[in-house]
Symmetry: C2
Subunit: 215 residues, 2 copies
């Protein structure tokens, strides 16, 4: 049997993308929760460049960056395909995955920082929501009507963003402003892939509230 | 014959990654130089999300983001493979490609901006060079001893960085500080894939100097 370890954090959307991929493929794995205040020697030696989670260790070989890990899992293990088969659809899925990766910083700035960084973050998040609202007219999933690579990366706007919003009191997403995005999100949080694989909302909310009160 | 158009800029390292991929595959294409001060309707409708180059238009369908376009070209056209075949090697190639994409902002801040942004950029570029210097001990290419996906993304540190440095007078790369990186770069700029495909250094230098004097 393959030896698969995942170094991650239970509350990280990036970790959850990888867990999703492993679960979809039916791969057995050991989840090793990390402590970012006291990084483990295994994390430091497995990801010496970024020293960040998630890291997948497959038969002793580390792979870093959630976008890269999910593609690796898709190419390496049997089971349902995560990326579409058609090269053009694959490109669209990768485009949106990268879009979400690139916007993560703005979300963090908006909900976890203050002052100028927060204001710049808010602007960028609103711009992102406008783009998504336009894209998600009559769309349930990002590519080819099937849950996959882009939807996995959408987890932090589909799920985490609402929790961040509730924890921080900063309210950017209102259905009157972004009706298509909100309609998509309501379907997203209730679809089986999301309900089955993501951490319970209450646990996430309590954790983010507790972290914010310590900051 | 496939109808392939590339919306790009002759001086952009991102455009050149795509041109490289098309040339390696032997694909005939029409290069349509863009004007960023006056964006063309074709660019705006082909990349409504980012409104940026490069955009590949293949049989009327647009693909955006150089990292995504190069994978699309590799999966769509016949010819030598750009990404390695082995899934682990592919993951490493994607990891480095993403690394370079993520560092581009710091390079731009260092050489094209001033003040606090420049200082933060310099720190990040030096950190990047340290990582690369460590990675490139005894390495000619990033993955599996073969020029490919990661090396294409390395074009802006292997080629553009030196030109930026000369044009701006900001000198960060010295062989006494980063000997492995400099040894790699000297091989890089002289390897046939680079010499054949990248724009003449003097043209690039004159262009960047002229742009800086207008800023």
């Amino acid at each position: 049997m393959a030896d698969v370890k995942l170094l991650g954090l239970w509350y990280s959307p990036f970790s959850h993308r990888v867990e999703w991929a492993l679960k979809i493929k039916g791969v057995q794995y050991e989840f090793i929760e990390q402590d970012l205040q006291n990084k483990s020697p295994l994390l430091l030696e497995s990801n010496p460049v970024h020293k960040k989670i998630p890291v997948l260790i497959h038969n002793g070989k580390p792979i870093c960056e959630s976008s890269v890990i999910v593609e690796y899992i898709d190419e390496t293990f049997e089971g349902p395909f995560i990326l579409p088969k058609d090269p053009y659809d694959r490109a669209i899925a990768r485009f949106w995955h990268k879009f979400f990766d690139d916007k993560m910083g703005a979300v963090v700035n908006t909900f976890l920082h203050k002052g100028e960084e927060q204001e710049k973050g808010k602007e960028e998040v609103c711009e992102m929501l406008k783009i998504l609202d336009n894209e998600l007219k009559d769309k349930k999933f990002f590519v080819a009507d099937k849950f996959g690579y882009a939807d996995m990366a959408a987890n932090f706007v589909g799920y985490w963003l609402g929790v961040f919003q509730e924890a921080s009191g900063v309210e950017l997403v209102r259905s009157e402003n972004f009706p298509n995005f909100c309609a998509w999100r309501d379907v997203y949080v209730n679809c089986s892939q999301v309900k089955e694989y993501l951490p319970p909302r209450n646990d996430l909310l309590a954790f983010i509230q507790a972290s914010a009160s310590k900051a």
